[in-house]
Symmetry: C2
Subunit: 265 residues, 2 copies
Amino acid sequence: MAERRIALKFAYDGSGFYGFQRQPERITIEGELVRALTKVGAIKSARECGYRSSSRTDRGVSALANVISIKTSFLTAQLCSAINSEMDGVWAYSAVEVPDDFNPRAAKQRWYRYYLARAGQNPEILRELASRFEGVHDFSGYARKDKRNPMRKIDSIEVFESDMFYLLDFRAESFLWNMVRRIVWMVNEGSSGRMPLESIGPKPSSKPIRVGLAPPEYLVLMDIDCGVKFPTDPKALLGISRSLARRMREHAVMVEFVRSLLDSL
Amino acid sequence: MAERRIALKFAYDGSGFYGFQRQPERITIEGELVRALTKVGAIKSARECGYRSSSRTDRGVSALANVISIKTSFLTAQLCSAINSEMDGVWAYSAVEVPDDFNPRAAKQRWYRYYLARAGQNPEILRELASRFEGVHDFSGYARKDKRNPMRKIDSIEVFESDMFYLLDFRAESFLWNMVRRIVWMVNEGSSGRMPLESIGPKPSSKPIRVGLAPPEYLVLMDIDCGVKFPTDPKALLGISRSLARRMREHAVMVEFVRSLLDSL
């Protein structure tokens, strides 16, 4: 088959990896994908296949949906199931042909969800503080310094409640490095009464304050809108749903286990 | 302080270890305990401290309560919190003085819980099949062959239901190797309609049948009755409850993560 550009959508459990980006001697999500794509013969190497990625999530962060793009002559309908059998903790579930100028980095919107453990926060204050970060702001106080423009527009921050967590849903075209985790840390401090409310917001206060970083294990990249439809590959789904169900049960047992232990002590 | 014999009660998350028993080059639960006890100066080595253990759980099995015994001159009230700061995934929460002839291996009763994933089993049949194994039987068909007497008495097998699991609670003075997991495998096959009911029971059938092994990740050693009271050490509890709560939340997030993924596909 002729070589075309393919966009690949996939999920991963970040806890088993040293982050997204390839690193020598480390198991990373990108490394696992490139290894599997090479193993099945879809690409020769990352360098030669016009590899492009969308979101470089931090170490410990998981994703329901991240996107990469490669050039390959591998059969599109076979690609997901072929590489899934070579990967552990990364699950590809959609592959579509895209124009050659397709770049997943230039996404229309990214959606992140943070699972903030309930620990006596005031939910009204939490919602109000979160809303302060919506819209266009200079987020340099909430990101690691780099050369990028610190102006960003957060389309929305929604707050939902579950048994154990507040779910904070962030939507924006793009985020600065660590930006979501720093905002979460800040609104958590404020809604827990550990920080004066007037000091919380995207505008850097006159007195610079140390903004902490919420832990990465509770952050999930939920979806990326690249302007492309990604229909789920039924063959890939069949292959991964059993391993996902087992993984869910194993974590559910550990929740029960630790809960019983805490109750028994 | 003078040397006394101490019994130590502790919990562990089996998923991070190569089983219970010490092995060279492997991280095991016993190895972690001995390392921590040596590090804090409570013992010189496992050989010189009159080390005795109760239950050698298989690789992957967790415990709310397992027991070892050592001779030490370390202050009893300080022992748990001292070793907890040296261990990851093992949590000591009770230390008591015991007579020198105390042997935790000779326990009165052990209680194991198996979390059997709900997958269309008939709960009435499951209960009935489980009850066939109660009482005194020759369990040689349900254990790896070794030199031990295959006669065992199961005091009770209770079946409870939760959202995702059937909880099977086994109580007996002692079990043969793999016995619980083989019984679980068998009653699961029977209650799922994959095995003729008349072939299920402790009595070896005339035609020998292959008895499989249910996976270890769903088995938890819940408690051991050594005839000794183990009051929870308040200082140790304070130290471990935060790390346990964090571990519970991390697993809960992964349950939510995989559930969302399965729902979204």
